[in-house]
């Protein structure tokens, strides 16, 4: 249920059907469209204003505190991010295997993206099948039920011990998390499909697996893609925490190390970079799946 679609269509339709709307084809730019465009522009303007205000507030606070070790100014943070991006003597000094922000970013992103993709795909298949094949559901439900409620983070120590404190353990953790998230959403979505869609397909002569492929999967896909998006957003944080607990490289490791030296500016810079990457990944995901969701 992406919010951009909920609430608005009905209200906008109401505006169009309101008494006073003209019957017949209105001109290309009716007064209503003009008002709507103005409204959208002012919304964007206010959004930007909000961000600008917060940054300004940050600047002011930093100036008041006047101690970059407690609250560095925005400019300082950005400079830190840029300077250390390609190579960081501080990180080298502190003994990281990756000595630049970029290097650590690549490590983190590599684990997150591959584990998320693999886990999500497994979850998608598992979830959809669990909605239609009883033994699959019986097999997967205990794990999905528990970890649908309990944070996957509690399993982090186990995975790190069993698979090592390096990228393998982290990979398994993120993949497992993605699997649980998508499998849960997939099963719920597939169970919620009104029966008449499958009945219709059956009266056209489609067999069971054909129906799963051509009705259940496309119908459940929007929910699954939403879950995939949520899983990706959370995976960055999960991976970071796993790295905090002990890793040879990664953004989390860098954050841990810089926290140890009390370098707030670096920590904020690293988090900022992570945030930007997370947003870009989310944007990429949304854009590339837009075509699949055109029909909604």
């Amino acid at each position: 249920m992406t919010t951009a679609q909920v609430g608005r269509p009905r209200a906008v339709a109401e505006a169009v059907d309101a008494p006073g709307s003209r019957v017949g084809s209105p001109p290309a730019r009716s007064p209503r469209t003009a008002v709507a465009t103005r409204a959208t522009w002012s919304a964007a303007a206010w959004r930007v204003t909000g961000v600008v205000l917060v940054i300004a507030l940050w600047e002011w606070l930093a100036a008041r505190v006047a101690n970059p070790a407690i609250l560095p100014a925005p400019g300082l943070v950005v400079r830190n991010a840029i300077e250390n991006f390609g190579g960081s003597p501080a990180l080298a000094y502190l003994g990281l295997s990756e000595t630049s922000y970029l290097g650590n970013l690549q490590y983190t992103a590599g684990v997150v993206l591959t584990a998320w993709a693999a886990g999500s795909m497994a979850g998608l298949v598992s979830g959809l099948l669990a909605a239609r094949v009883q033994w699959v559901r019986d097999l997967t439900e205990p794990v999905n039920y528990v970890f649908g409620v309990v944070p996957v983070l509690v399993a982090a120590p186990f995975f790190l011990i069993w698979f090592g404190f390096g990228s393998t353990g982290q990979w398994v953790l993120v993949a497992f998390f993605s699997y649980v998230t998508v499998a849960g959403a997939g099963m719920v979505a597939a169970l919620a499909i009104p029966p008449r869609f499958e009945e219709y397909a059956a009266t056209l002569g489609l067999g069971k697996w054909s129906r799963v492929r051509r009705i259940v999967l496309p119908q459940a896909l929007p929910s699954c893609l939403a879950a995939l998006r949520v899983a990706l957003a959370a995976a960055w944080g999960l991976q970071t925490v796993a790295e905090l607990m002990g890793s040879e490289a990664g953004m989390g490791r860098a954050i841990a190390v810089r926290t140890g030296t009390g370098d707030v500016a670096s920590v904020m810079a690293l988090i900022l970079i992570l945030g930007i990457v997370a947003v870009l990944a989310d944007l990429l995901f949304t854009v590339s799946t837009r075509k699949v969701l055109r029909w909604q």
Binding site: E14, A18, R137, V154, I161, P195, F197, V241
Partner: protein
């Protein structure tokens, strides 16, 4: 008769969503397919929800769906535990130190439980190992109680503060257009940051103390509830907001008396998610840099890869999670009784 501009503006006020919320879990859409015949009361031809041992009335499409079978789930859990035991026994035979990988459950209780005494501070009495005493089962349990309590207090405080702030902020933003857009810009920005990665920052600012944990949890819950509240208000029927205005209610009164109660059912889902969210954030907060709490215990045990102790702490964590979830669900149910 509203002018087109006013109508659009009104709809904009209510219905334009600037912040993209977390996709809510899909709600089952159980419709009986025989819509026409369902008009007569009690005349469901194909009851969708039928008890186990179903009659033939379940239609083809419905029969295809799998069902939740509690007995099977419990069997599955038992099977997993049995699997653990089997693997642990195999490790016991092949590894020199099986307790560092996967100890048998007997070992977990025999050695792990007293071992937890190491984390006991003696606050409930007795002489813990940290003060020269020995490891005992009682002290192990007490240590669990002590640190669970600390974590529980942090979660509770964070949840209470966070939900209050989040809902209040959501309502305030919905009422005032400039505040809304400005606030949403900020909220969107903050939501972009990977949540769990922010832990060290709070610890840096507030020290390895309870305040850091509570602030961190509050931050996460506030953001979640803010988004959920905005979505809930946006999903309201516009007439619900227009009607009180036609009666002459001020904006504040409208929000206090009409909007706030009306959105509680929709907030229910978000509220129940906040429980596990708070625990997740707490764990992330405590596992790095704290000196007490379940997460601290976990990271201490992790430093020495003492899987037996980690298992017990994890069980305590899971139990607390379920308890919190049930508590939130009960609270929500009391608040939504009018909607049933």
């Amino acid at each position: 008769m509203r002018s087109a501009a006013a109508a659009t503006a009104a709809c904009e006020d209510i219905a334009t969503r600037v912040v993209r919320g977390h996709p809510a879990p899909p709600t089952p859409d159980h419709e009986a397919d025989t819509a026409a015949t369902a008009a007569a009361p009690g005349a469901l031809i194909t009851p969708v929800a039928s008890a186990d041992g179903a009659t033939d009335s379940r239609s083809f499409g419905v029969r295809a769906r799998t069902r939740f079978r509690p007995t099977r789930v419990l069997l599955g859990v038992a099977a997993l535990i049995a699997l653990w035991e089997a693997v642990a026994l195999w490790f016991a035979r092949t590894l020199e130190h099986p307790e560092y990988v996967m100890p048998e459950l007997g070992y977990v209780l025999r050695v792990g439980l007293p071992g937890l005494s190491d984390y006991y501070s003696g606050v409930f009495g007795g002489t813990p190992p940290s003060q020269g005493g020995g490891q005992t089962v009682v002290q192990g349990l007490l240590s669990l109680v002590e640190h669970s309590g600390i974590s529980l207090v942090r979660v509770g405080a964070g949840l209470a503060l966070g939900t209050a702030l989040g809902i209040a902020a959501g309502l305030a933003m919905a009422a005032l257009r400039p505040v809304r857009y400005a606030g949403f810009g900020v909220a969107n920005l903050l939501r972009m940051l990977p949540l769990l990665a922010l832990g060290p920052l709070f610890t840096l600012w507030l020290g390895p103390t309870t305040s850091a944990s509570v602030t961190f949890i509050c931050f996460a819950v506030t953001l979640t509830m803010l988004v959920a509240t905005s979505n809930a208000i946006g999903n309201l029927d516009p007439d619900l907001l227009a009607y009180p205005r036609t009666l002459g209610l001020s904006t504040f009164a409208t929000y206090r008396r009409v909007v706030a109660p009306a959105i509680i059912p929709e907030l229910a889902a978000a509220l129940t998610i906040c429980g596990p969210l708070a625990w997740s954030v707490l764990l992330a907060s405590e596992m790095y840099g704290m000196q007490e709490g379940l997460g601290w215990m976990m990271s201490e045990a992790l430093d020495f890869t003492l899987v037996d102790r980690i298992t017990l702490i994890a069980v305590a964590f899971i139990v607390l999670n379920f308890v919190t979830l049930r508590a939130m669900q009960a609270l929500v149910r009391r608040g939504t009784r009018w909607a049933e």
